[in-house]
Symmetry: C2
Amino acid sequence: MSAAENIELKPIGFVKTKAIGKEVKNKGNVSEIVFREDLAEALEGIEDFSHLFVIFWMHKISKEERKTMKVHPRGRMDMPLLGTFSTRTPYRPNPIGLTMVELLDVEKNVLTVRGLDAFDGTPVLDIKPFDKKDVAEDAKVPEWWMKLEKER
Amino acid sequence: MSAAENIELKPIGFVKTKAIGKEVKNKGNVSEIVFREDLAEALEGIEDFSHLFVIFWMHKISKEERKTMKVHPRGRMDMPLLGTFSTRTPYRPNPIGLTMVELLDVEKNVLTVRGLDAFDGTPVLDIKPFDKKDVAEDAKVPEWWMKLEKER
């Protein structure tokens, strides 16, 4: 496979939410992930996890926006100008979203989750069980990042 | 966008590692992520993070393997038969890998990382800064999962 080749994915499902605009950023939001019906079987056992990673496609990002190389985090001019990969901006070459959510309910091909910051109709690419053993306790982040965290 | 539509991604770079076969699972492995040269600018500021999420495309998984609906975790028959989304199996509709790695070094368009369980030549789709505040301290996992964790 060469760098010129493209990778094709098909959504496994779509996000359903009443939140609009900036409301989707609210960590308390409850959304549904409606899976393709042919994939319901692949969800068996998911109810035994309390948290999941959701990997989704930020479909509202345009081709032009995908070419962005640098941003001020959250568009704030008091923040340093940084490479897009050093931030969580949706303006990135492959606008893939990654969010840890709480799993509230499972009904056939529909998962109800809390904390998914994705718009209604967002294509979902994959989900993975979350385990806190996956994560670094001693992770270091830059000062600008901590400043933004504190303001949340 | 309808469920029938496909999503096209272009790799942002590729994994370079000397590890082969099962060696890639070794958490101590050091690999490189060689980014496309046109994306070097988008890495500015990444050196201030100690850990990253790497999202990659498990390119060795065949079209047939992507149709897998159920697996025994790690192929072990003493484990329950579960839906693929309830496991970390690479046999999933969109074989996307997600791994937290330690960032060791940055040189222009090349990141050196520890803990990336991906084969040489694996296309990388995205990277994201890791922050432990993203994760749930109280996450629950099933018994079979804990059993496998203990055996690591």
